[in-house]
Homo-oligomer: 339 residues x 2
DNA sequence: TTGAAAGCGCTAACAA
DNA sequence: TTGTTAGCGCTTTCAA
């Protein structure tokens, strides 16, 4: 016959019961060393591949952790996922990844789909979700972690930072350097809630220094904002507000695009124009001049989330209250804002 | 009781059999419109979530496509995965992603783990694998696609391009521009087989023009090669071979790092030094000067792979022979090599 | 259009 | 240390 061999086939070939085969494939079960080796050897020879699907159904444990991110096309999110994945794999857990494309409606659909796979926990990016998403997550009966944000009304657990605060830090830094007429370049804020938070932080930070940030906002389009969009936004900015001294971009790639546009126009950074970004990308530390950025430590978000999940799954008891892990982003001053 | 509701619970609440509930959740089965609506409404109210695990076990279809890439920390691979994912989702398939970290041993382990989830097809990056990996894949009884390469001895299907040829193209371009003393910067070739192929192409291309490429090779370390490593390699190159006129880097980020190092040293690109990369990253088209690169069209690799998989899964019959889809990378000349 | 019975491949629970 | 029995939550198959 042609169908792939099952445990039953292996059991028959090895002259033992299926239960013995099952045990031979676990690590800490009671099987004699001799039997285990024999069974494994025969299984390998037969080309037997263990079927997790069946095991999961019976034991009601999928070994999956569901994760949603807006897009894979963003080094910060992929760093978080990479780190999360590496840490969870060590615990024998696998990531089930989905992309919401910056849409909370798509996120709802995605989460519904992911929950059908019976993940043991679910990690979502950001603090804004549809009402139905919130309900689905609360009813799911598994740990829920919101990451990359500090929601005011969290669903359950949180591993994140305040996007608004990072931009307040940045405004403080620029004002300290003597800049006053500061602009903000971001994406359409209906889409990118974290981008919107950053813009809000910019406005608040400016107000604290008695400056108006409201006026100088350039929308670069749908996120993730590309380098090209950053460059185009710079052009628009120079047309609309030619007296601008400094620009804060919603992300490092956009900031890099903005610097190249300045160079093309013969503007000297940071004398004629200061440029700052967000994300702590390698690009910012190596470009010439180096670009001031805020590093949100995406790998730490991943590892802290993994740690939290391992804790939640391993402690047998139901937990009282929800954990909240705050990550502290770091301002990394570059040559682009030091005049 | 506290456990999540099952189809049985929904059936009881709706006063129908489980089979009717099951049918109400499929699209094209025979259920009366009235019954379907009633069942779905009750299910939603109860907070019922369909359990794919059980459905998959019974129907022997997981809805998973397993995919392995070396790392998520590489824009080219994530572009391919993003595109693949988007196209497969449209067919109701979900990606099960794993990272091999550029190690064929880790890849073997990873593939073994992924096969236990009973994917309906598997996509692996690259043409070099352990003997056991090849055996596992051949025995798996599902379509196997090797992407991002054109292996000489493919396991099954292939969607890729010749990494060596891209570098021959690049050498041709540089020689055409009048460069002769050309160097290559890449990673440790034992790790990155695609990087090794590119280096081979470089050597072949040079030889075709009667030039020696063998000599000027700078190893930048374990892949993926960072911008910093590209910059450091440039430093090493200038020390070892100060007469070098042009450098081809294994990837765009490395090439960008190399250009920044040149700038720091006051070298003018492309007059004093030409720099070229690989990957067709946005970075290359927007940096100043723009950097010559080869675009391997990673999104096309993803969409073509998705298309192939859909075809293979939908045609009921066993297929004779293996498909081979060749992608044509495009040379994108930039200012960095045009003297 | 609906339902009853059987079973997908594994493991929990218990027995020997 | 090993085996037996039952069943995880669905869908296939067949019957009404």
């Amino acid at each position: 016959m042609d169908r792939p061999p099952t445990m039953k086939d292996v059991a028959r070939a090895a002259g033992v019961s299926v239960m013995t085969v099952s045990r031979a494939f676990k690590s800490d079960r009671s099987v004699s060393q001799q039997t285990r080796e024999k069974v494994r050897e025969i299984a390998e020879k037969m080309g037997y591949v263990f079927d997790s699907t069946a095991a999961n159904l019976r034991s009601q444990k999928s070994g999956f952790i569901a994760v949603t991110i807006p897009t894979i096309d963003n080094g910060n999110f992929s760093d978080t996922v990479g780190s999360l994945s590496a840490h969870l794999n060590a615990s024998g857990l696998q990531i089930l990844l989905g992309y919401s494309d910056y849409s909370i409606e798509k996120e709802e659909e995605l989460i519904e789909q992911l929950l059908r796979r019976r993940p043991e926990a679910i990690v979502v990016t950001g603090g804004r979700h549809t009402e139905r998403t919130r309900r689905l997550l609360k009813q799911a009966g598994i740990p829920v972690v919101e990451m990359w944000d500090l929601p005011t009304d969290p669903i359950d657990h949180v591993v994140g930072f305040s996007n608004a605060s990072t931009m307040e830090m940045m405004v403080d830094h620029l004002v300290e350097q003597g800049y006053q007429r500061i602009a903000f370049v971001g994406g359409d804020t209906v889409w990118d809630t974290r981008g919107a938070d950053r813009r809000r932080g910019f406005v608040t930070g400016m107000a604290r220094h008695g400056l108006s940030g409201q006026a100088r906002f350039i929308a670069g389009g749908k996120p993730p904002i590309s380098m090209r969009q950053g460059a185009d936004a710079m052009t628009e900015l120079l047309e609309q507000y030619p007296d601008t001294e400094a620009v804060i971009c919603v992300s490092d790639p956009a900031a890099f695009g903005a610097t190249t546009e300045c160079m093309r126009r013969g503007l000297v950074i940071p004398q004629d124009m200061a440029v700052a970004g967000f994300g702590g990308y390698e690009l910012s530390s190596i470009s010439h001049p180096t670009i001031t950025t805020v590093d949100p430590r995406p790998m730490d978000i991943g590892s802290q989330t993994a740690k939290l999940i391992s804790f939640l799954l391993n402690s047998a008891e139901r937990h009282e209250g929800s954990k909240r892990v705050e990550i502290s982003p770091v301002l990394r001053p570059g040559a682009s804002t030091m005049r």
